[in-house]
Amino acid sequence: MKYYIFLSFLILSWSSKSQISTYVRPCMSISAIEKEGNFFQAINNSIATFNFSNTLKRVNIIPIKKPIASDTIFSEYGKDITSYLFNKDSNNLFNVRKILEFSEYASSDVQSFISNNSADKDQILTQIATEMLGKVYILTIDLKKVETYKDYYDRKEAKRKARNERTRKLGGEVSESNQKPIERKLYGYLCDFGFKLRQVNWTPEMLDYFYTNCWIDENTPENDRAKKIDNFSKLQLSSKVVWEELQLGVSDGRSKSKRNGRFIEPTQEQMNKILTSSLPLGIINQTNKSIVENVPEFKIFNVLSSTYPCKSKIGTKEGIRNNDRYFAYEKIQKRDGETLLRRKGVLYVNSVVNNEKDNSLASNFLQRGGRSLYNGMMIYEELDKKINFDFNYNYSTAPLNLSSYSLSLGFGPFGKRSASYIGLSLGASTFQDLTYVYDSTGNYGGGTASYDTITPNGYSLSVGLEFARAIYLTKRGNIFLYPNFSVNAGFLSFSNKDGEDQDFEDQEYKPSLTIFDARFGVGLGFHIVPSVSIFYKPSIGFNMYAFESNANDDDDDDDDESESRNWNDMGEDLKKSRFNFINTISLRIHI
């Protein structure tokens, strides 16, 4: 009787579902499309037998180990899932134990509180089960191509030979690098695959049909059972594709060990381990990443249970990780009664709690931008690509500034409390009347140097590598210190000047200067909005090393004709620029 009440409640509550609950774990089965071939079968068998619960933390895995013959026949599969969720036994009897178990595992501490204080403890679990039934998915992996690294190298080698042959036929000369055979450094496998994620359509009508015509338990009269078993065998469960990727690639290539200068071939055992263990795991990891990024039902959401320190009752059970990004939202009701969510801040996971057994434990979050947050605000997982674009203006009073304007591509935040960043920058600057002393013969080492002083115009291009940390000063994380260190290489190009003596194009020697500098500073940053921040970065720059080469030297030979230059011999402007104070204003866009 209890099951009838449960099912009736499911149907009733489906239609009246309005309350946003906590994150409800989707249920997902994983299968692979059957394919001929040893590699395909080995991977498919592993996918069917592996327990991916550590990889797919945020889902309840439905362990149906059945490769499917076709991409289109799903009603059989849907029935298997129904049998699993409603715990069908060998006597064709259904019960709700399994789905209530899933619900109990997925329940939040508020839901546990309500459940524990209710006369009917299963009521709240039934509500969770209702939501869960709307989130039943079938994942099908479709392997397209599996090859060993040996096959991959063979293919590349054949291509190389064919290309060289073609070049020779056309009378060309094969370059030295193309004459060498492909180096076979790795062993392992490469795999191309696609996947489809289908959602089972558990509509109220379907559930009603299932309950009325297929459900059997100990209370079902004997004479009804045969018909209901027959009905269940004919049950058609539809599904819709909610996300698919047609072409993904995964590879596991491991370095071969060397003996006497030669690569040692791997053992069969090593190869099997990759094929049946790490490759399937890689496939599932890639698939999971794509699903979490693109299917909203797989994104975690919850509420802030406390603020400053910000905490939310999610953890390892939901598969959250350090430095995952969450947006905090406030629910706002407008005058016309319409409600909307307004973003109020950005949080990063700071420490993850193990809540497998105790759902009252909360993970710590650090706010990094936004307005004041309060408990009860909703937080939604939002993938952080950890990419930053910085637009920098560098101002220096020194005669030479290697990069007045620069653009940086950065990565971060990494690390915990203080977020670490790394960035690559490209900069440009112009200069005028820069006093520069050089030997017009370029023969610095020959002992016959004849120094000329010129005051050319020109420009510099620079590349740099920056390391930085953001140390958040305020509880809302809007203001932060930004200690940073960078090394840069600036390439100076001198241009001709009308009315001056030098005309580099007519001379054999045109100086081209490369300067390496290091900068250290402590910046101050401010989040204008959580994804846009502005910095003021005062820093001290030190030009460490300079060498000069001939820009008019168009020989293709590899001889290095550059000369290291002494700062004292390069003129006053460069001497003054050796130590400089650089003020940088940056605008950062974080995605």
């Binding site: 409640f9 009733l12 509550s13 009246s16 309350q19 946003i20 609950s21 906590t22 939040s108 501490d109 508020v110 509180f113 309500i114 459940s115 204080n117 209710s118 006369a119 009917d120 009521q123 709240i124 959401f301 919850n302 509420v303 249970s305 406390s306 009752k313 406030e330 629910k331 706002i332 009701q333 005058r335 409600t339 009252s360 309060y374 408990n375 009860g376 605000m377 909703m378």
Partner: protein, 167 residues
């Protein structure tokens, strides 16, 4: 002068906090809250969600316990979403005015009402139960109220009549 700044700030903070609390208490007395049943409570308890309005969200959390008990005594709650509604314990609509002294003490801060109420673990709010409406917050908190004990104590104090008195 600077010796006065810190004490003045403290006094100002205390006063504004007290004002917010007074405002919340006034809202309760003016029946400016809502309660709804969220489940059939276990023996002798009601499981309710009390919704309160406040400009200060933290005050609203504290107020939720008071509102839940107040609501069960004076308002009751209707049936909804499979939860059977309950009438108020007080059948006399002007009981709060007649027993003003008793209820002022009963609902004083940290008053007797605290005995009968149990907040969810640490006042965690369910997603969607914190809504900003204009300049105010409407916050719903799930609370378990020991109604049997509350009824018994109110009967013993002579505030409400026992169930048997009606027959």
């Amino acid at each position: 002068m600077k010796h006065f700044i810190l004490p003045l700030c403290l006094i100002f903070t205390f006063l504004s906090f007290s004002q917010a609390r007074k405002k919340a208490n006034k809202d309760t007395k003016n029946w400016r809250y809502e309660i709804e049943g969220v489940g059939q409570g276990s023996m002798g308890t009601y499981l309710v969600k009390s919704w309160q309005y406040s400009k200060k969200p933290r005050i609203a959390l504290e107020q939720s316990k008071k509102n839940a008990v107040h609501g069960i005594i004076f308002k009751g709650y209707p049936s909804s979403k499979g939860v059977i509604g309950q009438p108020p314990l007080a059948r006399n609509p002007i009981l709060d005015e007649q027993q003003k002294v008793f209820f002022d003490n009963f609902f004083a801060n940290n008053g007797q009402y605290m005995k009968y109420v149990n907040l969810t673990a640490d006042g965690t709010i369910l997603p969607g139960d914190r809504i900003k409406i204009g300049r105010e917050y409407k916050i719903g908190v799930v609370v378990s109220v020991r109604v049997a004990a509350l009824r018994k104590d109110l009967e013993q104090a002579g505030i409400i009549k026992g169930l048997s008195n009606g027959f």
